[in-house]
Amino acid sequence: MERVSNSAQQNAPATQGCTDAQGKLPSCAPLANPYVPYQSERPDAYNPAKGIVRGTMYPGLDLPFMGMVNQSELSNTLMHQIQSLSFATTELGLYLDTHADDDEALDLFNRYRELYGELMAEYEAKRGPLTMQQAGANGSYDWVNDPWPWEYKANDKEG
């Protein structure tokens, strides 16, 4: 299958001289077309703990309203680590959807995905299933056990 993201990026001139918050645009472009600068490959990235509180892994896309930014990172519970890694893989996955040839991002995606799997397994062994597929793995059907994610106490407990 032809890789389109690469050719799409090649339509634009090279990014030399662009900062991390800038992207590629063609110098001459057909009229009556919408354009958003294409994010350059190998962009700077936050670590997952910072990325999740900022709402993006990419400093170049971190564009807060009236300077309102989340300053403090989440506490270092197992659940918060899982949420951070899950967020990092989601964000990197979206990036890779349009940047399939960025090997550095793919390596990072694989690293976070692996770590995420390990922490999921640790959490499920200690505290119960996070997916129905894992229900019963601890010897009883504990899938329905409280708390459910939308409840205050699910987010309050030190997990």
């Binding site: 299958m1 389109v4 993201s5 050719s7 799409a8 990026q9 339509n11 634009a12 057909p30 009556a32 077309n33 919408p34 354009y35 958003v36 600068p37 294409y38 994010q39 999740i52 509180v53 900022r54 709402g55 993006t56 990419y58 896309l61 971190d62 564009l63 807060p64 309203f65 309102m68 930014v69 989340n70 989440l74 659940m79 918060h80 899982i82 949420q83 899950s86 967020f87 989601t90 964000e91 996955g93 979206l94 990036y95 959807d97 349009t98 940047h99 299933p129 996070l130 997916t131 129905m132 597929q133 899938w143 459910w148 994610p149 939308w150 409840e151 205050y152 699910a154 987010n155 309050d156």
Partner: protein, 198 residues
């Protein structure tokens, strides 16, 4: 298919109940630019999208929006926990309470119930992706406005996260347009509709 993960994308932990705020934030659950519309828009547009990368973008962003719908519902639920009799009579919340009690119902803050009229599925890749870019902008502004109206730090942490996701999604839809363009007639991207002509 979809598999449920028993966790939120980002933690929602709201210490103080606040029915007034709930009656505003409900718009991002079932309002014209809310998360229900976002997920339905992208997950529905997928079916007529002809190119692999763009099917991926719509599936992945649409799926993330379902997670955001759950987060906004969690905010409403926690803001309306254990309400006192006087809190129920909060101006702005009474009209919601009389019909839905402390249930989470997909409606705009104005009281207009969620409507597919607020989303678009045109069946033309360029039209659909440009609709998606506009949708992300409108959702971003709604979150800006919520930040203007809310002074609860527990709520605002979550709102700031959700708002930033709109910015990132806008970027990805913009790149999706570029990928689409690379597949179309160089001189005239409107030569035909690649969803049905090829």
């Amino acid at each position: 298919m979809f598999v449920y993960e028993k966790k939120l994308q980002f933690p929602v932990k709201i210490r103080n109940t606040n029915p007034r705020l709930a009656s505003i934030i409900i718009s991002q659950y079932g309002g014209p630019d809310g998360e229900l519309g976002a997920s339905m828009r992208y997950l529905s547009q997928r079916f007529s999208m002809p190119y692999a990368e763009l099917k991926g973008v719509l599936t992945d962003i649409g799926t993330e929006e379902l997670g955001h719908l759950e987060m906004v519902g969690s905010i409403i639920h926690q803001l309306t926990r254990k309400l006192s009799d006087s809190q129920i009579k909060t101006a702005g919340f009474e009209q919601y309470f009389v019909d839905h009690t402390a249930g989470v119902y997909p409606t705009a803050a104005s009281g207009f119930p969620w409507s597919a009229g607020s989303i678009g599925v045109k069946g033309d890749p360029m039209a659909d992706l440009v609709e998606d870019m506009a949708a992300e902008q409108k959702a971003r502004v709604t979150y800006d406005n919520i930040l203007r109206l809310s002074d609860d730090p527990d709520v605002n942490e979550v709102i700031k996260f959700l708002r930033e996701r709109e910015v990132v999604h806008f970027q990805r839809f913009g790149e999706a347009v570029e990928i689409l363009r690379s597949r179309l007639n160089e001189k005239n991207v409107y030569f035909m509709n690649p969803a049905i002509d090829s």
